[in-house]
Subunit: 330 residues, 2 copies
């Protein structure tokens, strides 16, 4: 049996949620530890995770390599892998790439909606592609084995990252724009380039990324995955739920606004609906991953395919990505 | 008699240099306190300046408003005005604009060669113009009276800043590219837009910005100023010497490379000439401002014109720029 892995979450962590991970048989989760945090603030978030690991050693532990997925399965726990949605955590310092990798960071987005020092976010009017620092940092991420994640980036920057990176990259949480043309969803050009270069796409369950939003049916979601598998091949696909379970709306304000404006930015929301949207009825917690697996079977995927989509593909990608390349490690 | 003002310096500060300011009758200098420094590191640089002010109260003091130029003249001292060449000092936090203005910051470049969170530097391959945060920060700079400086920015970003800013901006240290086509010098389009909007250009004496480099003659420099006065009007022009007197080459490495790459960046230099270039024989210290005034007279400027170019124009600009607009301050 293949492992079950979620390619992105940022829940309001609690013992209940860690127990739901076990109920949903989730072996590994990529969790966000940076939205706009500086290095020091990111380290504070790591410290908070260290306290969760200390309090609930029977439920969770920090994952560093793909071997930790197996360890999680053998011991009935969930391996937690750290990622940053914004390169704010490396500030202006390329030397922090190696330091954060040592602390366990395994994914880093080059941008979060806005322009960063590295590349352009999907909410900017103009997209530079990779900056001078961006090219240098991607090379350093490739060296240490820190995955480039372009979920919140503009198309030109994403294509430039795919081209410049010597290792496959990821879009951990987004859907095809052809299914639902949200700004955060991805064009066919981007998805073709991503998957043809060995990269991974994690399908998002955040309602703003779903056709029909909160009302999106499980069948529609799974049929979208089936069409994506036909278009891009099943090996490049997984889940990146973007589950923000139990977060207060102040958290979505922080995600959207950080410290970059004195005004209000509604992001994917609006003045009429500024908060977190309600999740679909069939996916409200980690316990509901079983619903997705069932839905995938119903639209015709084999057991092997369902296993690949629900985590097998992420497990292979983690194994290939989370450290120096074998020849470089010699 | 009009005051004598230099629109940019970053010397290796010492009592000797402060005495040369007096010998050159320099009433006010805009000094750089940030190249790549974070907020905290910028505050350390302010602390270092506070120690200079404490040690040499008969030579220098911190300037906050244009009135301090008059105070300097009345008391035979030089007023030191702070500026940042990089928005690294506000990190990702728009709230630091007001904080740094309160500490005395009066100029801030939106970029230093590379892409910043706000705009694009002149060394990047692609120029976004102002980013989302850039537009928000320029509005905040306008509100508090912190001058937007685009000396190291790309053309598109500079034109966007001129258009978006509700108050005149500055290019504190650069020359017309038509005279010397260096990447750091400015196009006719940029200089026209700058000066037609009430902005100021400070002519640079950094050899990489000079036709002929170190060998550039005083006459050639002053003739360039005369042509610029014909093209753009004399009121928009001053000096921004970019004097880096007595700095070791490790400082130009920091300017160019900061923490953004593990490689070597030669900036305006080259592998064959990586260090600071030698200054022209006629401008090696603050004491040599008198040479420039003489040179300007020789190419035909009247005494009144020389006074305007040597500081009168900067004095007017400082008075108009270093605080909230009168209607906003009510």
């Amino acid at each position: 049996m293949t492992p079950r892995i979620d390619g992105l979450q940022y829940a309001n962590w609690s013992e209940d949620i860690f127990r739901e991970m076990r109920a949903g048989a989730v072996d590994a989760v990529h969790v966000t530890i940076t939205y706009h945090e500086t290095f020091r603030e990111t380290v504070l978030n790591i410290e908070a995770w260290n306290r969760w690991f200390e309090r609930f050693p029977d439920l969770i532990f920090q994952g560093f390599t793909a071997d930790d997925i197996d360890l999680a399965r053998r011991t009935g726990r969930t391996a937690i892998f750290f990622g940053a949605q914004n390169p704010s955590c490396i500030e202006d310092d390329i030397g922090l790439v190696e330091v954060l990798h040592r602390l366990g960071l395994r994914f880093m987005q080059l941008t979060y909606n806005n322009q960063s020092l590295l590349a352009t976010g999907c909410y900017e009017a103009h997209d530079t592609g990779l900056t001078r620092m961006g090219r240098a940092v991607v090379a350093e991420m490739n060296r240490v084995g820190l995955v480039v994640d372009m979920s919140h980036s503009g198309d030109r920057s994403t294509l430039a990252a795919i081209e410049h990176s010597t290792r496959p990259i990821a879009i951990t949480h987004a859907n095809p724009a052809v299914w639902h043309p949200a700004l955060r969803n991805k064009s066919e050009d981007v998805l073709s380039a991503l998957t043809q270069s060995g990269g991974m796409l994690g399908f998002s369950l955040y309602p703003h990324h779903l056709a029909g939003g909160t009302e999106c049916s499980l069948q529609s979601f799974c049929e979208m995955i089936a069409r994506s598998a036909e278009a891009y091949g099943i090996d490049a696909l997984g889940i990146g739920s973007d589950l923000c379970q139990g977060q207060p709306d102040s958290v979505v304000d922080w995600m959207r606004t950080g410290r970059w404006t004195k005004g209000t930015d509604y992001g994917e929301g609006s003045a009429a609906a500024p908060g977190f949207p309600e999740m679909p009825a069939w996916f409200g917690s980690n316990a509901d991953f079983t619903n997705i697996a069932s839905g995938l079977r119903k639209v015709g995927f084999s057991d092997a395919d369902v296993g690949a989509l629900m985590g097998g593909n992420w497990a292979r990608f983690f194994a290939d990505s989370f450290g120096p390349l074998p020849e470089a490690a010699k």
